[in-house]
Each structure stands twice: as C-alpha cells, then as structure tokens.
C-alpha cells in the first residue's frame, strides 16, 4: 500500500503543482485588480443585487462583492470550485482505471498484492494530492489578500477554503469509485460528472424547490454565498460524503473480483 501511495504521489505531484500554481496565480491577479474596481464596485452593488435570476444563480444577492472578502469569495470561489473540481474529477476518474487503460495492470497485479491494498494506496494518494492542491491555493489566496491590502475576514475565509477542500475531496472520492468500474481512463466522464454537479448547484440557487438536491451536489455547500457569515453546511456535507463513500465502497467491492 505504502509503495503504491508513493508511486501515485510521485507520478502526480508535478501536474498537481502546476494546476495549483495556475489557480493560485489567477487568484492573485484577480485580487491585485480589486483596488481598481473597489470604487466602481460600491456603486454597482445595488445593480448586482437586483439582477434577478443572474444574482440568485451566483449568490450575488447574499454577499457584498464590494468588500475584498466578498469579491474574493465570488471570483476566487468560482475559479477554485471549477478548477479544483475538474482536477479532483479528472485525477479521481483515472487513478484506478489507468492501470488497465495504459496496460500496466499486468505489471502491478503480477506482484503479490491484495487489490484492496492497491486501491487504498491510490485513494490515499488521491486525497493527499487534493489536500496539497488546496493548501497551495490557500497560500496563494493569503498572498492575494496581502497584495490587496488585506480585508480578509478570517472566519469566512476559513469556512470557504474548508468547504472547497471538502468539496474537492468528495468529487475525488466519487470519481475514484466510478474509476473502479471502468476499463480505461474516461476523463470525459469525470468532467461530465463534475459539471453536472456544478450546474445542479446553480439551479438550486435559482429554483428554491430544488433545495433538497443540495444534499447531492457538493458545489452547493461549498458556494461562498452559502457559507459567508454562517456555519458550514454540515448536513449537506455528511449526505454528500455518505454518497461518495458509498460509490467508493461499491467500486472497491466490484474491483476485488473484477477481470483485469
């Protein structure tokens, strides 16, 4: 298990670092522009708050985007949600299936290894990569605030970044479970699952009757508009993790007896 973990980490850390640095650099550049927008933002808050469906979709009616924290929560939050979600989905969907897709399964499973142990090593490596990505991005975000002359609301920032980490991990675990059923890397499926969950969260913001779907999509509880000034959405987090862990458990059970 340990050696599989190390192998996955070594094989994945460079791509993760590039991905994290790209997201982080984007955040820094967005926040570097904040002082230029600050004045106009103040005048536009009223407009943003009253744009109907558009305001609801992105939570503009719940947050003050004229503040640095609100501005970061909206701009940075969306970028981190999508980019981090994509990374988690693409890495998760490939991490098991790539052994068959790249035909290295013969080498790996020709060694005396329990499949469960291989899968555990891969899952832990996936979690470590997602965690590292979030840590790097968090450091960039803190840098971004210091460049913008602070304005950081520590509690909101902590809730946002913690929710994002939990959301990325949930997407990764869900896609890991799906990966066990696949014969080859199906990156398109991973992206599709991630986008479906994201779009679902947008619709929940618009149509209140869809609120129960917030228990299915992690993008809902990770939305800055839903954590700013309030507690984290533990009920939705618990439900989402139950779903993702169930998918992972089903994947592991299937993979134990799968024909490779």
């Amino acid at each position: 298990m340990k050696h599989v973990f190390v192998r996955e980490w070594r094989g994945g850390w460079k791509a993760m670092a590039i991905w994290a640095a790209s997201v982080g650099a984007f955040m820094v550049s967005v926040m570097a522009m904040y002082p230029m927008f600050e004045e106009e933002m103040g005048q536009m808050v009223g407009l943003f708050n009253n744009m109907g469906v558009f305001s609801a979709m992105f939570g503009l009616d719940k947050i003050n985007i004229a503040s640095p924290m609100g501005f970061f929560g909206l701009e940075g939050g969306i970028v981190l949600s999508i980019a981090g979600g994509l990374y988690a989905a693409m890495t998760g969907i490939a991490i098991v299936a790539k052994e068959e897709g790249r035909r290295t399964a013969e080498f790996l499973f020709g060694q005396p290894l329990k499949r469960e142990s291989v899968l555990l090593g891969k899952l832990l490596a996936l979690a470590a990569l997602v965690l590292a990505l979030n840590l790097i991005v968090t450091l960039f975000a803190l840098l971004a605030f210091s460049l913008a002359g602070s304005g950081l609301v520590a509690a909101d920032f902590a809730r946002l970044m913690a929710s994002q980490l939990l959301m990325h991990l949930q997407v990764a675990i869900l896609c890991f479970g799906l990966s066990c059923f696949l014969k080859g890397e199906s990156v398109g499926l991973g992206i599709g699952v991630m986008l479906l969950l994201y779009v679902m969260s947008l619709f929940i913001n618009i149509i209140k009757a869809l609120q129960p779907l917030g228990f299915l999509t992690p993008f809902y509880y990770a939305d800055y508009a839903n954590v700013a000034g309030g507690p984290m959405r533990w009920a939705e987090i618990a439900a989402g993790y139950a779903l993702a862990l169930a998918a992972a458990a089903a994947g592991v059970l299937y993979y134990r007896r799968k024909d490779l």
Binding site: H3, T104, E106, F107, G110, L113, R115, R257
Partner: protein
C-alpha cells in the same frame, strides 16, 4: 504436489472464446512449453491461473494453493512475465525494477544488476524510450529478480535477438537445475522443442495434448524429402505431399519396404529421412496452419 494443476478449468468470454475444460498437470522442476497460435488461449490460461480473471468453471492449483482472483499469496513464489512488457511512463528501468522489488518487500538490487549485465541492458534509461526488445528485457528482469519457485512466462523471447534468447534460456536452465519450475507459452516451436521437457498444445481454448517432447518427435512417423521424383501419391501412409522445383516432400507413417519400393520406382537423385520436428506436429494439430 504438482506446480500447476487444473481440473476442467474454463474461462469463457462473452464472445465464446477463452479456454474450455483444460486438464493439465505440470510437475515441480519441469520445463513445460505451452504452444498454440495467437488467440488459442495461452495468455488466458496463464492469467486465469494467476488470478487476474475469475474462472467460469473448473478448478486450478498453483503450487498446491487453489487458484482464485485477488489471492496475493499465490503470487509470492511466482515470477510472471506478461506477453507485452508495458511499464509506467517516465520511470527509469531501474526504478521500475525497484518498484517491483518494493511491492514484494524484497531487496533484489544485486540480482537485478546481475541480470541486467547478463541481458546487456542499461537500467538508467527511461522505459518509454526503450525498444521493444529492451522493454522485454526489463520485464524479464522484473519476473526473475526475486528468484521465484515458479516462472510463468508468456512468450518470453518474442522481440529478443537470438544471442539474448540463448543467454535467457541458459539462465532459465540454470534456475531449473536449481529446482525452479518453468511454464512458458510460445508459438516458436523450435524453441519449445529445444528447451522444454513437456509440451501442451492448445487449440481454440482446448488442450489437445500434453506429453513429453519425445512423444511428439520420436514416433514412427518421418518426414521424407526427395530430390527428384517419386510416385508417392498413392502410397499408403504418405500424406502432406508437396512438390516444388523438382523436390518432393511428404510425411510417412508405415513400414519401410513399401516406401523404399516407391522411391526405387521413381528417379531419386538424393534424399533425407528425418524425425518429425514440432513444426510438423503442430501442423498436424492445426491442419497445416501453425
């Protein structure tokens, strides 16, 4: 207790192909050649025995342990060389071998170096830049470096040059003399004939025959090659008659007198009578299509 034993073992895919009711026994210390053309079921047999796939029927035992999917302990004393040696991109050959050794929790560095020297390969190269033959060498080292009791080698010499093939077989013979069992699949008949003590012939997933090599080549059946002409078309016991550029070649099974009479009546300038080689035997089992 045999090294490999199967009882009515089947692995049938959805398209109906695979292996069907294979009964096989390979004694410990044997070198067993498993021959058949591509798609005959050689790799399916090996992969089912190693637990890559769930058998759809029958049973198998590897060094006395029942075969089943995901049974790690069965693989501990086994060295497996897949038909295609494919590794992780970006890794150096030495890293691949170290990874394989780590997964087995064994220090195989000394043996890996020795084998690399023997097979003449630089382990500092990245595996994705290696030629097919050199990739095969890395696969061979990965399968041999932990000095297993049972070698399961799927077409081990395909892609290797003749010199390396010879070195490989010399090493395998040495390991066999040390007590290891070798099970090797191949469609290179001369190789099997030269190095194996027992042979199994598989056709369309069914084991047609399993016997000592002598059983195939030391029979009363002979291949006769004649430079000239001989009236053998109606000769009883003659078959597979082929004529080409003033030469006649055929397989003969029967008494010598009728053969000599038929040759005497022809115009024979020169002739050879030899034992069948596995190529001929293979042709018999496959209707002339090895």
């Amino acid at each position: 207790m045999p090294a490999i034993r199967t009882k009515n073992l089947s692995k049938v895919y959805r398209n109906g192909r695979g292996i069907h009711g294979v009964d096989l026994e390979v004694a410990r210390g044997d070198i067993y050649g498993f021959i058949g053309p591509n798609g005959a079921g050689k790799s399916t047999f090996i992969r089912t025995m190693l637990g890559f796939m769930q058998a759809t029927g029958g049973e198998g035992w590897l060094l006395g342990s029942p075969v089943q999917v995901n049974k790690a302990d069965n693989l501990r004393p086994v060295g497996y060389l897949p038909g295609e040696a494919i590794f992780y991109k970006g890794m150096k050959a030495a890293e691949v071998l170290a990874y394989a050794a780590d997964l087995r929790q064994k220090d195989c560095r000394k043996k890996a170096r020795e084998l690399a020297e023997l097979l003449d390969i630089d382990l500092g190269q990245k595996v994705d830049t290696l030629s097919l033959g050199n990739r095969k060498k890395v696969g061979i080292i990965a399968a041999l470096q932990h000095e297993p009791d049972l070698y399961m080698l799927d077409e081990p010499t395909s892609g290797l040059d003749p010199l390396v093939q010879r070195t490989f077989w010399q090493y395998i013979q040495r390991m066999n003399e040390g007590g290891a069992t070798v099970f090797v699949s191949s469609h290179t008949l001369s190789e099997v004939q030269r190095h194996c003590r027992h042979v199994g012939v598989i056709r369309e997933g069914r084991l047609i025959v399993s016997a000592p090599v002598e059983h195939f080549v030391k029979t009363q059946t002979r291949r006769v090659s004649v430079d000239g002409e001989a009236a053998v078309d109606d000769l009883e016991g003659a078959r597979d008659v082929q004529r080409h550029n003033g030469h006649v070649s055929f397989i003969y099974q029967g008494e010598m007198q009728p053969l000599l009479k038929a040759l005497h009546e022809g115009s024979v300038r020169d002739m050879t009578i030899t034992e069948l080689d596995l190529e001929d035997v293979f042709g018999q089992y496959y209707g002339g299509q090895p």
